[in-house]
């Protein structure tokens, strides 16, 4: 097997394991920090009770904000930067050279998600209230 293929196959497994660990880690941290020492008492009701308070701890909020910063930076520094490089030759917008294609596509994504969320709110409301006659 040639070396580059070997490396790429190794990368498949490496990245699979790393991403699974990364996705499980917050769960693990929260479990370790919140479960009490006397683990015999962890009944379903008590676990429920504790997970209600987890979202109010400073640790959880910091983790959430950390990942929020990560996501925003991924969008600006990785995705949009890559895309600007890929679409810089203007061959997709021959009629209007210099059109900011990347940024308008990103805007499309944002506005699409806003509309999607609003539509689901409307749909959930309709599901709940469709019996009442004067809905609109």
């Amino acid at each position: 097997m040639e070396q580059s293929l070997q490396l790429r196959v190794v990368a498949i497994f490496e990245i699979f394991i790393i991403s699974a660990v990364g996705a499980y880690l917050p769960q693990y941290i929260i479990e370790q920090t919140t479960l009490k020492k006397d683990s015999e008492v962890t009944v379903a009701t008590e676990v429920n009770n504790e997970s209600q308070q987890i979202s109010e701890t400073l640790l959880f909020r910091s983790l959430k904000c950390f990942s929020g910063g990560l996501v925003v930076a991924v969008a600006f520094c990785h995705l949009l930067a890559d895309s600007v490089g890929d679409l810089s030759d203007d061959s997709l917008v021959k009629g209007t050279p210099g059109f900011p294609l990347t940024m308008s596509l990103a805007m499309t994504g944002v506005i699409f998600l806003v509309c999607l969320e609003q539509m689901t709110v409307v749909a959930l409301d309709m599901v709940d209230n469709y019996n009442s006659s004067n809905y609109w």
Partner: protein, 238 residues
């Protein structure tokens, strides 16, 4: 018409009855009686909003009432649906991106072995922290079952390997940068919305649970800046 709205918390005796006797025995060992009762009764699933509506007076001059219970439960269901939808949107936009970067690694050939090595490390970090943000979103939904948590994690972990596999299989053929660029730009827009609105704004302006205290805010800001700086530094290699 008189409407009385009063939240009723399941009374102490009820709560004790709901627990199996073995558990009462165990929890009795360590704690004083009062503590155990509070633990069981603060559970929000016992809390129902009870609305009593007086609709008239019957012949014995006593009020006739209609009582609606478990409004709170209904509302809980709705927020669960919303949170689940947010998680799906987030996972989808992250997965799109992950497949693409995996593809970029997969199409590299023998000529650029050092680049493959750099990308292996960079993508490892990248996927680790993206998985981290996905994980924090997952634990935010409290009613998700263990099976679906595992499903979300596995589905996320598979995205980049699938991209690499596609890249390896198609590395002999040439691909267009334009398709990559368009998909990247759309996914970038998705992630800007997910990051700013669904993660950061929701965390700083929480309404469902307790509000963010003054002491918590600077720490949260610092951790947000750390995350952003970290990802921006990774952009040097990836």
């Amino acid at each position: 018409m008189i409407i009385i709205i009063h939240p009723t918390i399941g009374s102490t005796t009820n709560c004790i009855e709901q627990l199996p006797p073995a558990i009462i025995d165990q929890s009795d060992k360590g704690k004083p009686q009062d503590d155990r009762e509070n633990d069981a009764c603060d559970n929000p699933s016992h809390l129902h909003l009870q609305i009593t509506t007086e609709i008239g007076i019957n012949q014995q001059q006593q009020p006739v009432t209609v009582t609606t219970v478990s409004v709170a439960e209904d509302r809980e269901k709705k927020t669960f649906k919303k949170q689940f939808l947010k998680l799906i949107i987030f996972e989808f936009s992250v997965a799109l991106h992950s497949v693409i970067i995996g593809f970029n690694l997969g199409i590299l050939t023998t000529a650029d072995i050092p680049e493959i090595k750099i990308l292996m490390v960079a993508l490892g970090f990248h996927q680790f922290f993206e998985g981290f943000s996905l994980g924090t979103m997952i634990i935010d939904i409290q009613k998700l079952s263990w099976n679906s948590i595992i499903l979300f994690i596995i589905a996320f972990a598979l995205t980049t390997p699938i991209g690499i596999l596609i890249g390896i299989l198609t590395s002999s053929t040439t691909t267009s940068d334009h398709a990559n660029g368009v998909i990247n730009a759309l996914a970038g827009g998705f992630l800007i919305y997910a990051g700013l609105v669904e993660i950061l704004h929701e965390e700083f302006a929480r309404e469902t649970s307790k509000k963010v205290s003054i002491q918590q805010r600077p720490v949260m800001c610092v951790s947000m800046i750390l995350g952003a700086v970290f990802m921006a530094i990774l952009a040097i290699w990836a």
